[in-house]
């Protein structure tokens, strides 16, 4: 099966890298799935979950907040200002952040917390 090389990079560290069969990310114009051989693309990421299906059948889910996706030569770079893998996310903290954001009416923070929770729970659903 064809595969593509994925690098998920946050501003201060490399979060994940490896081979994958498909990557789904939320871009400015909606969810985009990228498979090997996709046309070169460079687009803006929204705050949202990124799902990576690895070649050995596993799934990596990460929450990313702002950034870019660029794909060329079967190499996919996901650049995010903040990126957290699902198993790094502290669910209790994210829930607290969600409560806080809701009471503060901070739509931005609320969305970030929701995405974190979504990513963390998505992984549990798979496991």
């Amino acid at each position: 099966m064809a595969e593509l090389h994925v690098e998920l990079v946050a501003a201060d560290r490399k979060v994940w890298s490896g081979a994958a069969t498909i990557v789904v990310a939320r871009t400015a114009s909606g969810d985009t799935g990228i498979m090997p051989g996709h046309t070169p693309v460079l687009s803006v990421l929204e705050t949202g979950p990124v799902t990576i299906r690895t070649v050995d059948g596993g799934t990596v889910i990460a929450a990313v907040h702002g950034g870019f996706i660029s794909f060329a030569d079967n190499k996919l770079s996901l650049l995010a200002e903040i990126a957290e893998l699902a198993d790094e996310i502290d669910v209790a903290r994210a829930e607290r952040a969600l409560e806080q954001a809701k009471s503060d009416l901070d739509a931005h923070a609320e969305r970030r917390a929701e995405v974190r929770l979504f990513a963390a729970r998505g992984l549990k659903a798979h496991a």
Binding site: D12, K14, V44
Partner: protein, 304 residues
């Protein structure tokens, strides 16, 4: 114990205490340099990918963007000065401040108004003490900057740059480049407006030499550039902060090492002085005893 000897002993004790402190600071800084260097290395993949993306957009489209547009009659310039929060780092902060003053002088010579933005308590206190105008300042993170800090700084600077009126026409950054453990140079660079043909990867190779594929831009080349360029500025500022933090630790380590060495030498020479003072005391006591015994012997012989 004689007065002289007691004074020496006291000074040795105080210098030893100082030496312990400087030695501890030296070791702390030495440990933190490694950490700071790792932070610089860890930020490189993001910076490189971002640079590549920016160059790709710039080469594959003719999109114009406010952040890349040069104002031919620039009147106002901003200078971002990065210094330390704490002292005891040798010439680290003062070198950066000196570089920033030279740059300010040069920009004034070109007929531009200069607004100074400052990171670090040392630079801020230098400017406020001399009643020099400061645009804005940030303190508290000079030795361990995070991306969030860089974002806060960048947001304000970009806002100043893109403001319709009263905004600045160019942005310069004065930071300290970490060359090696022994050498850190205060450097100044113009960050805005961006010259896209000058963007470089972290290993100093110009990004232009690569051939870029024909990307599809989503939503559009302008839209991508709109989102990319502020991130690029943030990442440049983040890099400058990290390099400066590493330099700060290296400068402090070196300053503390020479302080420790000097304290060691001071202790050595004070010990010598204390020893000879003690010896002089003993010699004097012996001669007093001998003198006393002789006098007694003379007196008793005379009475016989």
């Amino acid at each position: 114990m004689g007065a002289q000897l007691r004074v020496y002993k006291r000074r040795i004790r105080s210098v030893t205490a100082t030496k312990k402190i400087t030695k501890a600071m030296e070791m702390i800084s030495a440990a933190r340099i490694g950490k700071a260097q790792r932070a610089v290395a860890a930020s490189a993949p993001y910076a490189d990918e971002l640079t590549r993306a920016v160059t790709a957009v710039a080469t594959r489209s003719n999109a114009k963007h406010p952040l890349t547009t040069e104002n031919p009659n620039a009147e106002r310039a901003a200078v971002l000065l990065i210094t330390a929060d704490r002292g005891l780092a040798g010439g680290y902060s003062s070198n950066a401040i000196k570089a920033s003053l030279t740059l300010t002088e040069r920009l004034r010579g070109e007929g531009k108004d200069v607004v100074t933005y400052i990171v670090g308590r040392k630079g801020l206190s230098y400017y406020t003490f001399r009643n020099l105008a400061v645009g804005n300042s940030w303190t508290g993170f000079s030795d361990k900057p995070t991306y969030g800090d860089a974002k806060t700084v960048a947001a304000e600077l970009i806002e100043a740059f893109t403001a319709e009126d009263g905004g600045v026409d160019e942005l310069h950054v004065v930071s300290t480049e970490f060359v090696s453990m022994l050498t850190q140079d205060a450097v100044e660079a113009r960050l805005l407006p961006l010259k896209l043909d000058e963007v470089q990867l972290s290993d100093q190779t110009p990004a232009k030499s690569e051939i870029f594929p024909l990307y599809d831009f989503e939503p559009s080349a302008e839209g991508v550039l709109d989102a990319l360029l502020p991130r690029y500025v943030e990442s440049r500022i983040y890099n400058a902060l990290l390099q400066s933090a590493a330099s700060e630790h290296a400068a402090r380590r070196r300053a503390m090492k020479s302080a420790t060495d000097n304290a060691g030498e001071l202790i050595k020479s004070l010990t010598r002085l204390a020893n000879s003072a003690r010896q002089a005391e003993i010699t004097q006591e012996i001669s007093e005893i001998v003198g006393g015994a002789n006098a007694l012997a003379d007196a008793s012989r005379g009475s016989e």
